[in-house]
Symmetry: C2
Subunit: 492 residues, 2 copies
């Protein structure tokens, strides 16, 4: 996120309005250093088409753009170029946190207004060409014939020049927890079944579907990265490969009824990004994603403090101790069960003495916080039950003394880090958020790690759909009201 | 709801434990006045079966009971009777509000424990036979082999003795807003298409599906009513007719992925009710539904005050005035749009002068409250857009002065009634509830009429499913925290 104060600093717009529609067949844009060049045109059928070159070498062959809509002719073809505006932008801004003190945001921009004559409506495709890559997005101005609309699929293509090497994980609506496979594009179909290892929630969608960010390497040493930025009120983009022609196409995450996005104009899609270099290190160094994200919305960011932390966590994963307090319960009804009357299993990780040792360790080794998972009631039956009222986020187990442990930590210059596992029961989390964040404030926590393990409730929704993206943002904004840092993890 | 204080007053239990399984083939129960008799048995396949007679005449022929579960052999057959307990209950209790000061709750009860040997688990079917009808429900005790389970369908039968006359509306997951049809059972299939008139949200499910409560009349003058009570954490029951054999069977409302209920033992189903009489007036006079609902959960009910009200409502329905403030907007983004800069349409019903006239009328005619619909921002695009952030429930239109109008009303001994139309965007309503109810308290409202017009968001859920039943209860409980009376309407 960028700081708003400096964002609007040096915008220099050079509006270029070409009058004759006949002249508007093809448009070119060059990066500030001249190494990247992109071309845009419309096909004879009126389909938007773009391509991209780096130091004279083709990165993307002509690739189509467009969106398929529900109960609507769609935004796929029948377009002509109505207007082209170009601009240059150069600004240096200060991130709230990150690896650098300052980030330069420098690009040449081309905003193409496309008129769809048969539907009497316009869309805009906005391209920003940086020295390290391309970003572009769809923009939907409010107008008579484009107001509320439903996306059936976005058909944004990225046409590769050949059978590149890809470092990929299977495309999935619910998880990115897969090991990476390095293979030729033509080999994905044969390898994907083996790459789809078990996960707590998973919904692969295609035999050639892969996840963004996708890293590619060409035979002649070009590195290409496909991803997105400013993912707001839209579903996540995966990529599906046409492995005969080596063309990737966007594949959005659907909702419970199969639709892929409910939009209200005026609005924009997330940015689609293509980072390019002949030096692999430039890909990691690229700040295209940060530059295309919206600026930071908060004036006061003094409460946002990145921390180093240790946690009662790996020992749980490794099976040395348990999240659950007792082993004797087949299920839990929160507010009904009295844990003090249950038999402890003797292996509960989040107990007072054990957490104190972690606090001592953190204090002795200069770590800021101690994450404690399994501190709260409900872990006996939290997973795989599609349980609605699974946690209340404020009730500790009998052997976890919230007040004492926070005081002990604070006395040593350490903070505890809160843990909110939602078990993907999202309505339940939203219902408890205010009380949960107030509980944190009351007890001296300032950061929460949240998790969404398992299939989403409401059932049929997916971790990467518009519904959930809306929720993650809601959670972060709610937490910010309490000056709490949300460390969301989409799937554990 | 019944008052808790007197509920547990006069329970007289006569436990009857029959030892020899061979003896437990058939069980009978008689109503307190002896006019109703029911029999229960298990079939040779171990299916639970019951029948019902009134003054010696058959009301229900042998009818099967059972539930089909997901990824489980189900609770349909393989049962034997393990235990039978009978009891008699007679109590008179005082409802918080209603037509009578006191209600008598008098029944004979039989709780049959059924053992499903192959699955090593038990369920209980509890029957309560009143003088005016039968209630029964499934009970699921917590046990090793019955803990979390998912209902695919409940198969509770009501086997009619013939081709009765029914007063029916089409079975539908989303609305009951249909005109009633009076026909023979055998005529439903031919008439249902014409009976399904347009509605803002509708999902009929079968050519012989009808809604509960269902009123029937036999050729020889018996009146039979099929319905349910204590609908908590379960989906609504519709009825599907086998019109060859005149057998009704329960048909639950599914969720977005087609499942019909997520249950955690110990738990119970709603009561299924069969009200019977040879005098039609007894059907309306029956208090079986109230007697089977759970007792009132609140000690302090002083804030629950039924009212007579008039409303800025029918003129909206009739088209004389509008909910919307302006006609010039194709859509609204709440918090972005400044209504004071829009052009009023001049026909907005909820304006200060007009509402004052309603207040004057209410004061002059002894009416307690004035409902005002269309008082808040967002009505320009509230319907049919599947719009998530559709209302915020606290922002009045520029011509509706909340403070002034409430003061004016209170000065005349009248209250305004709040209106919360959710547009079926349920997550949005839950996110705004606390602020919305606090806004009511701050401004002197004590009752809200809520509505759920249109298809449910989260998409794929239905008005009568478990998800929404959970929500309606949440809304009522939240409102009660603010001592606000919730007048929920499931679909306008």
């Amino acid at each position: 996120m960028r700081n708003m104060k400096t964002f609007y600093a040096k915008l220099m717009t050079m509006a270029l309005l070409l009058c004759a529609a006949g002249m508007l067949k093809a448009q070119s844009l060059t990066s500030p250093n001249g190494e990247l060049q992109m071309n845009f045109s419309v096909s004879p059928q009126g389909e938007p088409v773009y391509d991209l070159a780096y130091k004279g070498r083709t990165v993307l062959k002509p690739s189509k753009l467009g969106l398929e809509l529900k109960d609507d002719p769609g935004l796929m073809d029948g377009f002509s170029i109505a207007d082209v505006k170009t601009a240059t932008f150069d600004e240096t801004w200060e991130p709230v946190w990150g690896e650098e003190k300052q980030i330069r945001n420098h690009y040449n921009e081309m905003a193409v207004t496309l008129n769809q004559k048969a539907q009497e409506r316009n869309i805009v495709i906005r391209f920003r060409l940086f020295d390290d890559g391309l970003g572009f997005r769809y923009e939907f101005p409010l107008q008579k014939n484009l107001n509320y609309f439903v996306i059936k699929e976005e058909h944004t293509q990225f046409a590769m020049t050949g059978d590149h090497t890809a470092f990929w994980i299977p495309g999935d609506y619910d998880t990115q927890e897969y090991d990476y496979t390095e293979s030729k594009l033509s080999e994905i179909r044969g390898l994907i079944k083996g790459a789809i290892t078990p996960n707590s929630s998973q919904t692969p969608f295609s035999e050639t579907g892969v996840q963004t960010a996708l890293q590619l390497k060409t035979a002649d040493g070009l590195y290409i990265n496909l991803h997105e930025a400013a993912l707001v009120d839209y579903s996540c983009m995966h990529l599906n490969l046409d492995d005969k022609n080596f063309v990737f196409e966007s594949w959005l995450t659907p909702d419970a009824v199969g639709d892929k996005g409910y939009l209200q104009a005026p609005c924009v899609s997330p940015w689609r990004t293509v980072i390019v270099s002949d030096d692999a290190r430039d890909i990691l160094a690229s700040r295209i994603t940060l530059n295309l994200n919206e600026p930071c919305a908060y004036d006061d960011v003094s409460w946002i403090k990145p921390v180093k932390y240790v946690g009662v966590w790996w020992e749980l994963i490794a099976g040395k101790s348990t999240w659950a307090y007792t082993d004797e319960l087949p299920s839990v009804k929160l507010g009904v069960l009295d844990y003090s009357k249950t038999k402890p299993n003797g292996r509960h990780g989040a107990n007072n003495e054990h957490v104190k040792k972690y606090i001592d360790f953190a204090a002795a080794n200069g770590l800021d916080q101690v994450l404690v998972e399994g501190w709260n009631e409900g872990w006996e039956d939290w997973f795989g039950k599609s349980k609605d009222y699974v946690f209340d986020f404020v009730s500790p187990y009998p052997d976890f003394d919230v007040k004492m442990l926070n005081q002990y930590a604070h006395s040593k210059g350490v903070k505890l880090m809160m843990h909110h596992e939602t078990s993907a029961s999202v309505r339940n989390y939203e219902r408890h958020m205010d009380k949960a964040y107030q509980f944190m404030v009351d007890n001296g926590y300032n950061a929460v790690k949240s998790g969404y393990v398992g299939n989403i409730i409401p059932r049929g929704e997916h971790h990467y759909g518009q519904w959930m993206n809306n929720h993650y943002r809601y959670a972060v904004k709610k937490a910010a009201e309490y000056k709490i840092i949300q460390v969301s993890q989409v799937n554990q």
